[in-house]
């Protein structure tokens, strides 16, 4: 068991204890941290961060940009754009996904639409997990 913190520029948005934290790093694929993990610093992909609590419950966050630092008994997620599952507006994410798909159908190489699609899909995935 160890401590998890999600820190945004405005505040420490989440603190809690966890048995395991699952995240995905850029180029590195999924990585899970348990107590006693070696010190680690990674850049997070646009993906979820999954906090498995000691009682078996889960807290899931959509992290659009950020870093993870593991040091001693502390996992810190630094992110300026992160949302907890409860904060996600499903209908808005769905609309955003539809819009992005429509834009991609018109211009397949539109980078903004592609990024919007990734974000919307992540939001929907995270909200479905809870």
């Amino acid at each position: 068991m160890f401590n998890v913190e999600v820190v945004s520029p405005e505040a420490v948005s989440y603190t809690g204890e966890a048995d395991m934290v699952i995240a995905r790093t850029v180029d590195g694929g999924d990585i899970a941290f348990q107590a006693g993990h070696v010190p680690f610093i990674g850049t997070l992909a646009v993906w979820s961060v999954d906090v498995v609590k000691p009682d078996g419950g889960r807290d899931v966050f959509a992290v659009h940009r950020g870093f993870v630092q593991v040091h001693g008994n502390q996992v810190t997620i630094l992110s300026d754009v992160s949302e907890s599952a409860a904060e996600i507006d499903v209908t808005r994410a769905q609309t955003a996904l539809d819009n992005a798909n429509a834009a991609l159908a018109a211009h397949a190489d539109d980078p903004e639409a592609a990024a919007a699609k990734v974000r919307a899909e992540l939001r929907l995935r995270v909200s479905a997990l809870c």
Binding site: E5, V7, S8, P9, E10, A11, V12, T25, V26, D27, G28, I31, V38, P39, F40, I41, G42, T43, F67, Q69, H71, T76, L78, D80
Partner: protein, 332 residues
């Protein structure tokens, strides 16, 4: 005409009184806002601290990167200034202090033959420099009393962009540091190029042993490269929050002294008005007495009292009480 001066004073008193109401309200509003701004500044600290700690660990892990934000330019041709002031006045010297400090810096650099580029935050800073015909490159308005992270990011993007493409070779940040409720001071800091990561780590005060065993993904360089822009944003955001707290603290102080001054002025003016009223009453009595004497008739004491009552009813009231009833303590 007697009473004219009194009326004039009464009008001034009521105008000062309404000014006092306004300054008092502003003082109270600023007092609650400064507390909120301080809390926000405190809440933002963990992120900045953790980012610095990651950089510390990266430096200890031997990350060296040729990032544009770390680029040290041999000859500085143009200096960028980020000047943070407020959107609104009535905050004492809060706006003028950083603006003047920046102007001094700017002139210093100019005398060394360097060009400048201004990034102003707040309406007051933009107005000051525009009025004096400085070139204001970018100006950011409308959020100084409650800045969000988005605002910091917008500024950081523009500044980092200008720096990366070589439009400016150095950036100075001028803002008001919030030391405590009673103390805020203007601070001029080198913003870009960033110090070497090792210097950042030392400033952070971290111990660099035992942690060099960090694993990095994808690589120390890649992490550092992604991290530096966030570090710049976090530093700017911290400065904006300090400014907001300082602005409210300054406004509270300025409005407190304005309220106190209004009170003093009201006391002074009421005294003057009372004296003027008394003088007017005396003059009128003298006129009545003088008039009666000119007619050669004795003014009966009752008529005199009646005349006096017509001029100043309040002054006569105690005499209406018969001597038998009058309490020794309520002597006129």
């Amino acid at each position: 005409m007697p009473g004219g001066k009194e009326r004039e004073l009464r009008r001034r008193i009521s105008s000062v009184q309404s000014t006092k109401k306004i300054t008092r309200a502003m003082e109270l509003i600023a007092a609650t806002r400064v507390v909120k701004a301080m809390q926000r500044a405190d809440a933002a600290r963990p992120y900045a601290r953790r980012i610095t700690s990651v950089i510390e660990n990266l430096a200890a892990g031997g990350a060296q990167v040729d990032h544009p934000l770390l680029r040290e330019v041999g000859e500085v041709k143009r200096v960028g200034f980020i000047v943070m002031a407020g959107d609104r006045g009535l905050a004492g010297a809060y706006n003028t202090n950083p603006i003047r400090a920046a102007e001094r810096q700017l002139m210093g650099h100019q005398s060394e033959g360097k060009d400048y580029s201004l990034f102003t935050v707040g309406k007051k800073a933009a107005a000051y420099y525009k009025f004096r015909n400085y070139r204001v490159g970018h100006s950011y308005l409308g959020f100084t009393d409650n800045p969000g992270y988005e605002d910091a990011r917008r500024i950081a993007d523009d500044v980092a962009e200008a720096f990366s493409v070589g439009e400016i070779d150095q950036v100075e940040l001028i803002f008001t540091e919030f030391v405590s409720m009673g103390t805020q001071r203007v601070s001029v800091r080198r913003f870009l190029p960033l110090e070497d990561t090792r210097v950042m780590a030392e400033v952070g005060g971290g111990s660099a042993e035992a942690i060099s065993s960090f694993e990095f993904e994808p690589s120390p360089e890649a992490v550092l490269e992604a991290l530096l822009p966030r570090y710049v944003e976090a530093r700017l955001y911290g400065a904006l929050l300090d400014c907001a707290a300082s602005e409210h603290a300054n406004r509270q102080r300025a409005m407190k002294s304005a309220t106190d001054n209004a009170e003093d002025l009201i006391t002074k003016l009421s005294r003057e008005m009372n004296a003027a009223r008394q003088a007017a009453i005396t003059t009128e009595i003298m006129e009545i007495v003088g008039g009666a004497e000119a007619l050669g008739t004795e003014v009966p004491i009752d008529d005199f009292a009646a005349a006096f009552a017509a001029v100043a009813p309040a002054a006569v009231a105690p005499t209406a009480v018969s001597p038998a009833d009058s309490h020794p303590l309520t002597e006129t």
